[in-house]
Amino acid sequence: MDTHLSIPEGIANDVRRIIAETLRLPVEHVSLDARLDEARLGIDSLGLIKLNVALEEAFDITLPDFTTPEQPHIRSVGDVAALVAGKVSAQANGGAR
C-alpha cells in the first residue's frame, strides 16, 4: 500500500526541499521513498531535530519528535511528508470552523 500518493504535490516538494536544505544535499537525492535512517541521507539525531523545527517553522504546525520511539511509523521522507500534509489539512479545517 502506498499512502504517499495522497500527499499534495506542493507539500511533498516543499518537504523534500526542506530536508535537502537541512542535510545540505541535492534535492534529487531526497526521494519520497528514501529512508530517514538510511546512510545515504546522512541524518543523525541532531539532523532529525533540526528537520523537525524547520518543518514546524515552514508550515506553522506542531510535529511529534521524529527521534522518539513513540514515532516508529515515521521512517521515510514520504512518511514525513504525509505527516506534514495531515497536520496542514487539520490546521486548515480547524481554522475554517
Binding site: D44, S45, L46, I49, V53, E56, E57, T62, D65, T68
Partner: protein, 318 residues
C-alpha cells in the same frame, strides 16, 4: 569514583590555562544570555527562571512548577534575618529576588551578562527589595571575598558553565560561615555511560547554543564538595521535572516563534533545537538533573524532617 570521560569542549578547555578558560567562559557563556529579555519573557515563567521547575504532576503548568521550586529552595536554605546570600550565575534574578521578597537576608548576585544584571536590578526595584540586592557582572573566579563572609551560596543552572569545578568548590567552602549552606541545581551525566557524548547533538547544545558546558557525574561533584570540607545534606533528582520544564519552554517558543524571530532572527530555531536535544536527553536519562544541598558544619535545617518544605509551601503559593 569514576570521572566522566571528557567531551571535546572539555578537552579544549583543559588545553587552556585557568586564566584563558576564564576569559573563554566570560565571552562565550555570556553570549546566550545577552539576547533580549523580551524573548526569554515569552518562553520562561514570570520570574524568568532558566532552570528546572519541580513538577509533582505531568499536567501542571510552568508557573506552578517554578513557584514550587522557589518555595522548595527557600525551605531548604532557611535564610535567617541578616544572613548573607550569594547567587553565582543569578541570571535575571529569579531565585535572588524571590528569596529577597520572602526572607530578610542580604542578597548578592553575579552574572556574566550585563543585560541580565540590568533586568534583575529593574525587577528588584519594582519588587521594592533593591536596597537588599546587589548584583555585579563578574566571573566567579574573580570574586575576592573574605573568608567566612556568607551564609548561603547558590548555583542554579549555572555551575554547568564552569570548568574549574574543584577550585570553585574550595573557594565556596572558604567563604561560607559555619552552618553555611551550598545549594546547586544542575545537570549531570549518569555514571553508567549512556548516549553518545561525542555526537553532533552534544556539541550543538554545549558549544553552539550555550557556549561552554561541563557535565560531570553526580559522584564527582559530591566528591569535590566533600573534599572542600562541606557535608552533603540532601540530593534530589529532578530529571523528569526538567523534561517537563523543557516541554513547556518549547511550547512557548512555538507559540511566539514569529515575535521571537522579529527581535532576533534565527534565535527561535536555536532555542527550540537545543531545548529539544535537552528534553530528549532528560527523558532518556542520558543526562540527569539534581538539586544538591550541603552544609559547612552543623546544618541549620534538620535533615530528619525531609522533605523539608511544609505542605502549604509545596503548593507553590507566594
Amino acid at each position: 569514583m569514576i570521572s566522566a570521560a571528557h567531551t571535546r569542549p572539555e578537552r579544549e578547555a583543559m588545553e587552556r590555562s585557568p586564566a584563558e578558560q576564564r576569559e573563554h567562559e566570560r565571552r562565550v557563556v555570556a553570549e546566550h544570555y545577552q539576547h533580549d529579555v523580551e524573548i526569554f519573557s515569552m518562553v520562561l515563567d514570570s520570574r524568568l527562571a532558566y532552570a528546572t521547575g519541580v513538577f509533582v504532576r505531568p499536567d501542571e503548568d510552568l508557573e506552578t512548577a517554578q513557584a514550587r521550586k522557589f518555595a522548595r529552595i527557600q525551605a531548604k536554605l532557611d535564610i535567617q534575618p541578616g544572613e548573607r546570600v550569594l547567587d553565582v550565575g543569578c541570571g535575571w534574578g529569579s531565585n535572588l529576588l524571590y528569596l529577597a521578597e520572602h526572607t530578610k537576608g542580604e542578597f548578592f548576585g553575579i552574572t556574566l551578562s550585563e543585560r541580565q544584571r540590568e533586568e534583575a536590578m529593574r525587577r528588584a526595584r519594582l519588587a521594592g527589595v533593591a536596597e537588599r540586592v546587589h548584583i555585579d557582572v563578574r566571573h566567579v573566579e574573580d570574586l575576592a571575598l573574605e573568608p567566612a563572609s556568607f551564609d548561603v551560596v547558590l548555583f542554579s543552572g549555572s555551575i554547568v558553565h564552569m570548568h574549574n569545578r574543584e577550585e570553585i568548590h574550595h573557594a565556596v567552602a572558604r567563604i561560607l560561615r559555619p552552618t553555611g549552606r551550598l545549594l546547586i541545581s544542575d545537570c549531570y551525566y549518569p555514571a553508567e555511560h549512556r548516549g553518545d557524548r561525542e555526537s553532533t547533538a552534544t556539541d550543538y547544545i554545549f558549544v553552539e547554543a550555550l557556549g561552554y558546558c561541563r557535565l560531570v557525574h553526580l559522584s564527582e561533584e559530591l566528591g569535590f564538595i566533600e573534599r572542600a570540607g562541606l557535608d552533603i545534606c540532601h540530593v534530589e533528582d529532578l530529571t523528569s521535572s526538567y523534561a517537563l520544564t523543557l516541554e513547556r519552554w518549547i511550547d512557548n517558543v512555538r507559540k511566539n516563534r514569529r515575535r521571537i524571530e522579529a527581535i532576533s532572527p534565527g534565535f527561535s530555531r536555536l532555542l527550540q533545537q537545543y531545548m529539544t536535544v535537552a528534553k530528549l536527553s532528560f527523558a532518556r536519562r542520558t543526562a540527569l538533573e539534581y538539586m544538591i544541598l550541603a552544609t559547612r558544619g552543623r546544618p541549620r535545617v534538620e535533615v530528619a524532617s525531609f522533605p523539608i518544605a511544609p505542605p502549604a509551601r509545596e503548593k507553590g503559593e507566594q
